[in-house]
């Protein structure tokens, strides 16, 4: 629509709209085969010239002629029936008929020849910034936004007050609230660039990467375990998590970030920090551990790689093209397999973070293993005397047939013996305590000596210097086949890029690596490197657009394209197309710096608007798609948990490291897969339980109940945007959950020594970041009196006050 408005006006609009609709029908149904790039049967329907010229059967469209070949084909009157395998709905056929009859107008004729039809597949052309004399406009963003607001008969909202902006900024960049003191510090700062200074200060905080890294982890379906019925740990997945956080903190240029994740091993094989990016391929769901299913698993893995890559970096829903040509986007099935072929030689591997140390080989672990085996046997030998003695005693107390059942090998037991054995197994079990009581002093001493050896063996035990990642099996890739009509071995496909985006083949992998260190670097195909280079071309139509749109989405709660991982024709159109393209070109010009984009957005008047909704907003911009205000938002699951810790003074700010497992009640872990002692290994140090949520164990089959009810993603598929639901279980969690009570109680213990008014003020300042108003103070006093009656003590009453404030909307929502 926006494009049309530039080209047409008044009476022409109707015809143009018809044409636009007709072209869209062609685009959706015909272009995947009949475009300039593929032109099956010689037919190219992507331009008017192509349609008039036609293919091997002659002209497809004869303007004005309702018997044009194209119309015959879609009506499916004869053997020529298109599209294959389905028929267009009658209203679409009718649209095409009217369009041809009225002259087959082609309103996109001024697009460069060979340019794709769909907007997001065309290269970014930097638009001119609208001129505006309005003093509201602070930067180019505002100029674009204001132009659109004016067009829609809307005005921007007044700016939010300073305290609101500071809180909003802290949550936006750090995912944590400020303290009241930090707010005051800003309000006191009279320097003209006080705001810019605050933005810079927060961008350089280590907590920034924890907030923005979390967005990225959602996209790459990160978890610490693999999922399915054993849900095993993915060794060293957390190294990738820390790599993502560090990358955001360092403001790693986005093109470099992509290259490291797709092919760090091929670009910079000797730099473990870069190679760690390939953990991207390892942190998704997988069933690598299933026996006898390597073939199926491989297919699923390659599908996951292809779909996730398309979705995360290019905002494309490639999944549809796995089984057939994409129905909506010009992505033929062949392209899907060309892309998949790029990953065909990639296999998971362990990345040695300290390459010079040990050739990727953990010598210490190796000898420790031998020592442990030795110790295990020794313990068995020491205990043998007592164990067999006690066992014999217990056995002698049982009936003879039970004894016989127990002593028969399992395989040889009769069904009756089986039942007896199961029933009585516990009666002959020998416990550690029983053995301990029976040991001679000399035997006990030998065991104690072993304990000493064990402790020294593990005294310096730490996570090993490895990360997870991929590399190629060699410089020859296994062939990739595109299935044809359900046959597993179909047509062989060579690696390449998406045709609609210019296509191109991946050249044969010439391996020019040389062994430069003590470690010979393995040969590789360089396919993923080619892909990364192709995706990170500065003029790739999607890469920059998709990323700036994601950044915009995370700042404003909604993207300029609201379907942030679908830039195809089934996705939403951009509300501000020129702004999107301006941001995309700016992103590339500013060397793909994500922090630069934050600075642009956060210093705009658009972002600083108040979140108040007015009757006019409600009527003209109910969804706030035109940005007539700032969208109030609920805290995300992690922000909420982290804020409770922060506000009550309990947050442990430690960064990085292996994932933390917190203790949960039996009710909470009900239904968890596997044995608790293996699945939920609670950290020994309670201070770890109060760390930021991003560092908690993310089990793929079990979300922390508190995070789950607040819409934390399932981490099975890439999650480009979270739900923001409002439910009764959320209320129950905040109201009755042990977490809130525990943090509230810790906080109340500090408040109890204060005079009552001071305690109330302190609670208000810590949780709501402001002083209580007079009526609030009076109400709180009354409340404490009431709760002193019901609970009988001051501390319990204060816990209630804190619990109440933590449950308030003021705490949960960002204005």
């Amino acid at each position: 629509m926006w494009r049309l408005a530039l080209l047409f006006s008044g009476a022409q609009l109707l015809a143009a709209e018809l044409a636009e609709e007709a072209l869209r029908i062609l685009e959706r149904n015909c272009l995947s085969c009949h475009s300039r790039q593929l032109a099956l049967s010689g037919l190219d329907l992507s331009s008017r010239e192509g349609a008039l010229k036609g293919g091997t059967r002659g002209a497809a469209v004869r303007p004005g002629d309702v018997h044009s070949l194209l119309l015959q084909a879609v009506r499916q009157e004869s053997k020529l029936a298109m599209p294959p395998g389905k028929k267009l709905p009658s209203d679409e056929i009718e649209t095409l008929r009217r369009w041809v009859e009225s002259g087959a107008l082609w309103p996109r004729q001024n697009s460069a020849p060979g340019q794709p039809v769909w907007w997001s597949f065309r290269k970014v052309v930097r638009p001119a910034v609208p001129q505006s004399a309005n003093p509201w406009v602070r930067n180019a963003i505002d100029a674009f936004v204001l132009a659109k607001l004016t067009e829609k008969g809307l005005k921007p909202s007044s700016p939010a007050d300073g305290a609101t902006l500071v809180r909003r900024l802290y949550f936006d960049l750090l995912g944590l609230p400020p303290t009241r003191e930090q707010i005051d510090e800003y309000l006191r700062d009279q320097r003209p660039d006080a705001w810019e200074r605050l933005v810079d200060k927060l961008l350089s905080s280590p907590h920034y990467g924890e907030k923005w890294g979390r967005h990225w982890l959602d996209l790459v379906r990160y978890a610490d375990t693999a999922g399915f019925e054993l849900d095993p740990y993915i060794a060293d997945a957390w190294r990738y998590r820390d790599y993502v956080i560090a990358s955001f903190n360092a403001d790693k240029p986005y093109d470099r970030f992509i290259r490291e994740q797709l092919a760090g091993d091929e670009f910079w094989p000797e730099d473990p920090e870069s190679v760690m990016g390939t953990g991207f391929f390892c942190v998704g769901p997988n069933r690598d551990y299933y026996p006898d299913q390597a073939d199926i698993n491989r297919v699923e893995t390659l599908t996951d790689y292809t779909d996730t890559t398309g979705s995360v970096f290019m905002g494309l829903t490639l999944g549809c093209a796995r089984c057939h040509d994409h129905k909506y986007d010009p992505i033929p099935q062949r392209d899907y397999y060309r892309l998949q072929a790029i990953f065909a030689p990639a296999v998971k591997t362990r990345i040695a973070l300290n390459r010079l140390g040990s050739l990727g080989y953990d010598v210490a672990a190796n000898s420790r293993e031998i020592k442990l085996q030795n110790i295990g046997e020794e313990i068995g030998a020491i205990q043998h005397r007592c164990r067999s003695k006690i066992y014999a005693q217990k056995m002698s107390l049982l009936r003879p047939e039970v004894q016989q059942a127990l002593q028969t090998e399992d395989e040889k037991r009769t069904p009756a013996q089986k039942a007896l054995a199961t029933e009585n197994a516990a009666k002959v079990a020998v416990s550690d305590a029983e053995i301990r009581a029976c040991l001679t002093p000399e035997e006990s001493e030998r065991l104690r000596a072993i304990e000493v050896r064990l402790v020294s063996l593990f005294a310096s035990y730490r996570p090993k210097p490895f990360a997870c990642g991929v590399n190629d099996v060699g410089n020859h890739a296994p062939p990739t086949f595109m299935p044809v009509r359900g046959e597993l071995l179909g047509v062989r496909v060579e690696p390449g890029f998406l045709t609609v985006l210019g296509g191109g083949e991946v050249g044969p992998g010439v391996d020019h690596r040389e062994a430069t260190g003590p470690i010979p670097l393995g040969p590789t195909t360089y396919r993923r490197k080619s892909l990364a280079e192709w995706i990170t071309q500065p003029d790739h139509p999607l890469t920059a657009r998709v990323m700036v749109n994601r950044i915009w989405h995370y700042h404003f709660g909604r993207g300029i394209v609201s379907t942030t991982s679908d830039f195809g024709s089934k996705g939403a159109l951009p509300t501000h197309p020129e702004l999107l393209d301006w941001l995309a070109s700016e992103f590339v010009a500013r060397k793909w710096s994500v922090k630069e984009m934050h600075r642009l957005i956060l210093t705009s008047a658009t972002w600083k608007q108040s979140s108040q909704i007015t009757a006019e907003h409600r009527q003209k911009d109910p969804q706030n798609q035109w940005l007539s205000r700032f969208s109030r938002r609920r805290l995300s699951a992690e922000e909420l948990r982290d804020s409770v810790l922060f506000a009550t003074g309990n947050l442990n700010r430690k960064a990085g490291g292996r994932p933390v497992v917190t203790p949960l009640s039996k009710e909470e872990t009900f239904g968890m897969i596997g044995r608790m002692e293996d699945s939920w290994i609670v950290h020994f140090d309670p201070s770890e339980y109060r760390r930021r949520s991003i560092y908690l164990m993310q089990k793929r089959t079990f979300r922390l109940p508190m995070l789950e009810v607040y819409d934390a993603p399932e981490s099975m598929l890439s999650c480009p945007r979270r739900d923001s639901s409002t439910t009764a279980p959320q209320a129950l969690t905040m109201l009755n959950g042990a977490f809130v009570m525990e943090q509230g109680a810790r906080f109340a213990r500090q408040l109890v020594s204060l005079e009552q008014t001071e305690a109330i003020r302190r609670a208000w300042r810590s949780i709501l970041l402001r002083e209580p108003q007079a009526d609030e103070l009076a109400n709180a006093r009354q409340f404490l009196v009431r709760q002193l009656e019901t609970t009988g003590n001051d501390e319990a009453a204060l816990v209630e006050l804190v619990r109440g404030l933590l449950n308030s909307n003021e705490f949960l929502y960002v204005d």
């Binding site: 069904p415 991982s565 159109l573 509300t575 109030r632 079990f702 279980p729 129950l732 019901t790 209630e800």
Partner: protein
């Protein structure tokens, strides 16, 4: 630009309405506050045969040839190998179909009911209901490990992350009781599918199954925190309400803030209603006995079945019960002990299910409740080791009762060894499309926009002959399948 292209541009709750495919009409007609009640009852697409579902899931894999699909050929050829043509193309993790020997069933089968349906002696109580259910002998799939098979049958894909049947149903219909969860799950504990077997996938989290724990507080965080009296709790709730009311007054036109105020009242009501719903002491001794409550083998599953009836009675939409776990007793014990595992597991569930069907019937609830009995796969007609059977996804049995379904009939059949369906094969898609249809939902219209597609439980598959076989006669005229 046609209006058809528009509805893809809304966020959070507002977008929800549109993602549901209800479109602008619904948006205009429904206040945004209504949209904030994702479990409010919603009208079905067509007249429903049932209002609620009780899904009895036998965890671990029930051997079809030992329960509902008798194969005398197995006994006759016991100890021999299969003819090579039969073995071709079949694969599981643990046995080789060309080498493993045929194992006859250790159980006897008899005919029951008007239709003379053959059922083994493992289910003496359940067999009395042969006239109440349709037995489907031709289920088949290709997932031969537990979790993928459970995901396939519950969620329509071997990979987790898709919404489960129960989630789709409450997404489509909402719930008739706002004070209880709409989709309740009761299991024996750790299951091989984990929570994703009853998850909401890409649907909003509110649609996932809520696990009911044993005891007085079935829902997580339902009880006041330890040491907090109801007077204290009420005072704090009032305090919260006061804070939020004031906050809202300064922020007009925000439905979401208002919805959150309401969620606290709902939570409060749930705190009183849920414990009542799970209080089995309200039931008569006769009813408790009917379910086998108080007897050692049947007490646990009997309680679950009785609870299921109480929940359905109170308007809960979907109740999923699992019998068996990842760690303890399980039908999957059949790997090395067919006799022991199946004897034990059948004894645990046979009488309780009999009690459930009888009780529902006596109370007139069976007609409006669909009861489904299923397992993730069957077991190999061939032997695994000296005493077992392996997983067999290529043919197995399930049954459905209630919802006005005319019972006493059998659908589909398998070959003489029970290896593959030979007649009217039924897939997970057929079953799920049919369950939705019985609830008045059109599986093609029950969609949710995700990753560039209007996703649905049945993917690209549809209703078929099977649906029509099951559909009560009064419904046939109304159902207009698109296929």
């Amino acid at each position: 630009m046609s209006t058809k292209r528009l509805p893809r541009r809304f966020d959070s709750r507002r977008e929800f309405l549109l993602r549901t495919g209800m479109g602008f009409g619904a948006l205009a007609a429904t206040s945004l506050l209504e949209a904030a009640k994702p479990l409010a009852p919603r009208p079905p697409h067509s007249r429903p045969a049932a209002k609620a579902v009780i899904y009895l899931f036998m965890h671990g894999g029930v051997s079809h040839v030992d329960t509902f699909d008798p194969k005398p050929e197995l006994a006759r050829l016991h100890g021999q190998t299969l003819p090579p043509s039969y073995a071709k193309g079949l694969k599981t993790s643990r046995i080789d179909f060309t080498k493993a020997i045929i194992r006859g069933s250790p159980w006897k089968f008899s005919r029951y009911g008007r239709g003379g349906i053959e059922i083994s002696e493992l289910f003496p109580h359940l067999a009395q209901h042969a006239d109440d259910f349709v037995l489907i002998r031709s289920c088949h799939g290709d997932a031969f490990d537990h979790a993928p098979a459970m995901y396939l049958w519950s969620c329509g894909s071997q990979l987790p992350g898709r919404p489960s049947l129960g989630a789709w149903v409450v997404y489509g219909l909402g719930s008739e009781n706002q004070n209880l969860p709409a989709f309740v799950v009761m299991s024996d504990g750790a299951m091989k599918c984990g929570p994703q077997g009853y998850g909401a996938g890409y649907l909003p989290a509110i649609y996932q199954g809520t696990v009911f724990r044993a005891g007085e507080a079935p829902v997580l965080n339902l009880s006041n925190p330890p040491g907090v009296s109801s007077a204290t709790q009420r005072a704090t709730l009032d305090f919260i309400h006061q804070l939020n009311r004031k906050h809202l007054e300064a922020r007009p036109w925000d439905d979401e803030l208002e919805a959150r105020l309401e969620s606290y009242e709902l939570a409060f009501r749930m705190q009183s209603e849920a414990p009542e719903a799970v209080d089995l002491s309200k039931e008569t001794e006769a009813t408790r006995k009917l379910y086998g409550i108080g007897e050692p083998h049947t007490d646990d599953f009997g309680r679950k079945c009785l609870l299921a009836r109480r929940l359905v009675e109170r308007g809960v939409r979907f109740v999923q019960l699992y019998s068996g776990t990842h760690l303890g007793d399980d039908w999957d014990g059949a790997h090395n002990d067919l006799l022991g595992s199946h004897t034990k597991m059948a004894a645990k569930s046979d009488k309780p299910i009999h009690g459930l069907l009888t009780d529902l019937k006596n109370r007139g609830l069976l007609d409006e409740t669909l009861v489904v009995w299923a397992s993730e796969f069957g077991r190999t007609p061939l032997a695994e080791g000296p005493n077992g059977r392996d997983h067999h996804p290529y043919a197995f049995s399930m049954w459905m009762a209630g919802a006005g379904i005319e019972g006493g009939r059998v659908y589909g059949s398998t070959d003489e060894f029970g290896l593959r369906p030979v007649e009217k094969p039924v897939t997970n898609f057929d079953v799920n499309a049919t369950i939705l249809r019985l609830l008045g939902l059109d599986h093609q219209r029950l969609t949710y926009y995700f990753q560039g597609r209007d996703m649905r439980l049945t993917d690209v598959h549809g209703e078929n002959e099977f649906t029509h076989f099951l559909l009560p006669h009064r419904q046939v005229a109304e159902a207009k399948p698109h296929a």
